[in-house]
């Protein structure tokens, strides 16, 4: 089984590697580093290269000759027998999740020359090249699945550690999804949808001048006004005022949202965690909650001397309810057995809270925060319309009073955009904090 003759020269090794599916796209630098790891070996016809159940140490790449690769029946490969020739790769079991043994028996059919690469050395090399390493691993996975017809469940390759790989793979995943999306009819239907909406608006108001629609600001009027350097009604992308209103609204929501998050999460955790606290406090909470936030407007003006505080208070209150309630539900949703397991493993109450309750409630907390940022905008707009100076709600209301109709639509559209952006930011923060959940969902989707 040992190598005796100088079988494969180094240049040749690179050529062989390039023919192998996993390394086909690798850069010359990486290829030569992989080639440096490769040890040539030669097997006589009929010689057993390895047997299923052996330790899975080396990966083999065939340089010449032929070998029969026979899977163990447990593997469940669709075709148990595969014949590998030049460029064929086998002995990859060590790359699979949790696999340390050979899954197949390989026998040389003719005199066969191979390159042997130590699996761990290869993985270490790939880890040092996060970008390309990830691609090589991905190609390994694809090859194992397609060329060897191994069931998907088994054919899961190890994950390279290191943060960069993660970003790369998520980026390439995003690109992949994007290309899939572009190939589907969805983007085109979406364009049709937008065209219909805008078209009807345009035609109804400006061309057909339908009754009632006639009074509304038309599409072209609004767009012209919005993008005009010298707007008729004083507000466009080019005026400083426009940004001032946005900043004021965003700043108000930010304050309210952060205050509500800090207080709401704390309060919700307490509600969920301590039965006594919940029994005492929750009834009062539930008693106040049915009062619509917007019904608080006049009282808030009375309570807070400064209108600014009143406006923020209203936005805060809405957020607070949503966050507190969802946090409480999150704590209650945690499976009892996680808490039991933690106490079994010797965790103290404080540790259970820190390591089980908090992360376990996080998905619900973030659902709450998503709702919270939405309702925060919802109440802010109302509050700004009723009282307060500056802000997008104020723009919409004063534009109505001052009969600057196109500006109303500009205000609404801006509000939609800004509101959407803030929700997206909250969602991103959630995904960042709950990587485990993102991955679980991604797996479920596949």
């Amino acid at each position: 089984m040992a190598a005796t003759l100088p079988v494969v020269a180094e240049d040749d090794a690179i050529a062989v590697l390039r023919e192998a599916t996993p390394f086909g796209e690798a850069s010359p630098v990486v290829l030569s580093r992989i080639a440096a790891l490769a040890r040539p070996a030669r097997y006589a016809a009929g010689e057993r290269i390895y047997t299923a159940g052996d330790a899975a140490d080396d990966i083999f790449i065939v340089a010449s000759g032929r070998a029969d690769h026979v899977f163990e029946p447990e593997v469940g490969a669709r075709e148990p027998l595969k014949r590998v020739t030049r460029g064929g790769v086998f002995g990859w079991a060590g790359l699979l999740l949790g696999q340390t043994r050979r899954l197949a028996t390989v026998t040389a059919v003719e005199p066969t020359e191979v390159l042997r690469i130590d699996t761990e050395a290869l993985v270490a090399l790939l880890e040092s090249q996060p970008q390309e390493g990830g691609q090589v691993m991905a190609r390994f996975a694809a090859m194992i699945r397609r060329e060897f017809a191994v069931p998907e469940l088994l054919a899961q390759v190890r994950r390279l550690s290191g943060p960069l790989t993660e970003e790369m793979s998520s980026l390439s995943l995003t690109m992949y999804r994007l290309s899939l999306w572009l190939k589907s009819p969805r983007p085109y239907l979406m364009l049709i949808g937008f065209a219909l909406f805008l078209g009807i608006w345009y035609l109804a108001v400006e061309v057909w001048k339908l009754p009632r629609f006639r009074e509304m600001p038309g599409l072209t009027t609004v767009v012209k006004e919005w993008f005009s350097p010298s707007p008729t009604y004083g507000l466009s992308l080019y005026t400083e005022e426009y940004y001032k209103h946005i900043v004021v609204s965003v700043w108000r929501v930010t304050q309210a949202f952060f205050l509500a998050t800090v207080l709401g999460v704390t309060f919700g955790l307490l509600l969920g965690w301590s039965q006594r606290f919940r029994e005492y406090v929750f009834p009062v909470f539930e008693m106040l909650r049915p009062i619509p936030i917007l019904a608080w407007v006049p009282l808030a003006i009375v309570m807070f001397i400064a209108t600014e505080s009143a406006v923020i208070y209203l936005a805060f209150l809405a957020s607070f309810y949503a966050t507190a309630l969802n946090t409480m539900l999150g704590v209650q949703s945690i499976d009892e057995s996680y808490i039991r397991a933690a106490s079994c493993l010797g965790a103290s109450q404080k540790q259970v809270f820190r390591h089980v309750i908090l992360p376990g409630a996080l998905p619900f907390i973030f659902t709450g925060l998503q709702i919270s940022i939405g309702v925060s905008w919802f109440s802010l707009v109302a509050a700004e319309m009723v009282s307060g100076q500056y802000g997008l709600g104020y723009v919409i209301n004063t534009s109505y009073v001052m009969v600057r109709y196109p500006t109303i639509i500009i205000g609404m559209a801006t509000l939609g955009l800004v509101g959407y952006t803030t929700s997206a930011l909250v969602r991103l923060a959630g995904d960042y904090l709950m990587e485990w959940r993102v991955r679980e969902l991604a797996l479920a989707e596949r």
Partner: protein
């Protein structure tokens, strides 16, 4: 697999005595008798299988040992030390008796390795670095290298169960309490898991208290199999499995295995029928 013959019970730790335990749920209201004067002794290093239909009350017994539920009367001792008794109805959960749960309780928000080192780190027994080293080594021994940095949600359910058992063994428990851990697995995965469990067992020889409703699983794994009556739960018949350890899957086709199944099948079936007629739900 470890091919050495099984050492005769060399374990000195992990003796479990369940002595005349009674559990009544809701004593003032509906008063459901779940466990009725149950007595069971488990030797150190023994695999004792508890077999009974779903909802027969065997999990109640396990919860009492683990310290999740009170007992109404009787007592439970481990290595001569009283865990709980009529006067102190609930034992304190601790790392000497670790439960592997029915649906798995690996924390989904921690990577497999983080899960494995959870016990020693929480107890302050090991520093984080030492724990990581030990955890990696133990995962490697259990054939789990490569999934350390994956989250539990990313690996197969069979692998998750193995990680969970490694997490338990990291604490050098005296007793492992397994509550139908392989219930949700398909029969092929199950068979792999059984051999893996035995392999781990031959290395550690920890006392195993294993709850199941699968008679074949019980006879394949256990030194003894206790068949429980359905609500109230108490041993109906205790079978000593005289197939020598270490066992592997060839045992399943052996004559003795079949004989043992035949011997006990009626008893189990009878209880299952009773449970079915009583309309008990899963539990």
């Amino acid at each position: 697999m470890d091919m050495r013959p099984p050492p005769p019970a060399t374990q000195t730790q992990g003796h479990l005595l369940i002595d005349d335990v009674v559990k009544v749920y809701d004593p003032e209201g509906a008063a459901v008798l779940a466990v009725d004067h149950c007595t069971l002794e488990i030797e150190p290093g023994e695999i004792c299988m508890i077999v009974g239909p779903s909802g027969c009350g065997k999990t109640t017994l396990l919860n009492a040992v683990a310290g999740f539920h009170d007992i109404t009367s009787g007592r439970i001792l481990m290595d001569g030390e009283v865990l709980c008794s009529t006067d102190r109805p609930r034992s304190t959960p601790g790392p000497d008796r670790i439960v592997v749960f029915q649906n798995g309780a690996l924390f989904p928000w921690k990577s497999n390795l983080e899960n494995v080192i959870f016990g020693p780190v929480m107890q302050g027994k090991l520093g984080r670095r030492e724990a990581l080293d030990k955890g990696r080594a133990m995962m490697g021994d259990a054939g789990l290298s490569g999934v350390e940095h994956n989250y539990p949600g990313e690996v197969s359910s069979g692998m998750r169960r193995r990680v969970e058992i490694v997490r338990a063994l990291m604490n050098d428990p005296k007793v492992l309490l397994l509550d139908e851990p392989y219930r949700a697995l398909d029969s092929l995965t199950k068979s792999v898991m059984h051999e893996a469990l035995l392999e781990i067992y031959y290395k550690n020889r920890v006392t195993i208290f294993f709850i199941t409703h699968d008679l074949e699983e019980a006879i394949f794994l256990g030194h003894r199999v206790a068949i429980m009556t359905t609500r109230p739960c108490k041993p109906k018949k205790i079978l000593t499995v005289d197939i020598p350890h270490p066992r592997d899957y060839s045992v399943l086709t052996s004559k003795r295995f079949r004989e043992l199944i035949e011997e006990t099948n009626d008893a189990v079936h009878e209880e299952a029928l009773k449970a079915f007629q009583a309309g008990e739900k899963e539990g």
